[in-house]
Symmetry: C2
Subunit: 185 residues, 2 copies
DNA sequence: ACGTAACCATACCGGTGGGTATACTCGCAG
DNA sequence: CTGCGAGTATACCCACCGGTATGGTTACGT
């Protein structure tokens, strides 16, 4: 299970382009955002975009890879601030709650999958890898119990959807409560 | 909570258009499908499409409304085949499993939300309503316990995502097991 | 001093997007 | 027999899509 999606260093304009693309792709959707707009927002030109990334698809894949890195670092930090034990699994839900304050369009990977799933797009592998990583994270936090890890992961994904697409304000709190009950065995 | 999205009767060409649109929107995504293609697949013309539906947005909203009706009827049938009791909540997961055999692109509402969420699109209300209906269904099936209903709903949404975007083959089975444990109190 | 990588500006390409216009045929109800 | 709703066929509109071409300006390493 290769989860190593390292990102090569970028030139300044390339960095600005990826920043702008990430923000626009997440907030408006991938197909809804054209390369002209990305270059505009980044304060550069389409030429530079294609010089750096080669294609829109490659830029999309890079956006997803970087997003996976950022989120996994974010949730990792949250988890490590809690003493080892069952509380660490619950800390993932705290991390999600905090993350969603700014990122109110839900899971970027679920959203991207809606647009590029089943097309052979280079970003699909990144989506799968992130979901597998989250499941593995939960499994690790509960001492290797793969069933329990998978079930906590379902609550995590469900909370994300319920809050975002369903407008259910207490989705994460409910997920935490259900997780607590599952953790009690 | 208005969940009444009745669908007016359609002319024959209108029916074919809605059928074609529903299939294409679900399988390829909303923005990825143009009105020309829809008219083509339906064996009619763009003119007729606009005569019947007025705009692509209206057609999308209708697609979502009809999809919600179909799914809720499907899951309702499954539930009613099981004797009253906790088994009925588990039957929803059986329904989902069966449904996903053909509909392998996951939840149409989650996917649609990825594309039109936050844009003021007429379809957004349908998405929210379907999620609320599913939560209410679970709550009703467990005798009105809103917390338990919401938590089962999270497992349902999570399973849908894990199977589709995550490629997790046993997602529904894990959801069933977690649900069983939550139902045991 | 020279090459080169990074960047900017602009124009262009074919294809497609949603949506409109015109004009014609059919079947049916008054 | 006339009017109308449904449908067909085709052509058109402008905006935007992803992607390319040309040509020029900096700054830096050798």
């Amino acid at each position: 299970m290769s989860t190593d999606f390292s990102i090569a260093p970028l030139t300044p304009a390339g960095e600005r382009l990826l920043d702008a693309a990430a923000d626009l792709f997440y907030r408006r959707g991938i197909r809804a955002v054209g390369v002209d707009l990305i270059a505009d927002v980044a304060g550069t030109t389409k030429k530079t975009l294609y010089d750096r990334f080669g294609s829109k698809d490659a830029l999309v894949a890079l956006y997803l890879r970087r997003r996976a890195q950022l989120w996994q670092a974010f949730v990792g930090d949250h988890v490590e601030r809690v003493p080892p034990g069952p509380g660490r699994a619950l800390a993932v839900f705290d991390a999600l709650e905090e993350w969603l304050v700014d990122q109110d369009r839900g899971c970027a990977f679920v959203n991207a999958n809606a647009e590029i799933g089943g097309t052979g797009h280079p970003g699909e592998a990144v989506i799968r890898a992130d979901k597998a990583a989250m499941r593995a994270l939960f499994t690790g936090l509960v001492g290797g119990d793969e069933d329990l890890g998978a079930q906590l992961h379902l609550l995590y994904e469900g909370a994300n959807v319920a809050v975002t697409a369903g407008g259910q304000a207490d989705g994460i709190e409910q997920a935490r409560r259900a997780a607590t009950r599952l953790l009690r065995g």
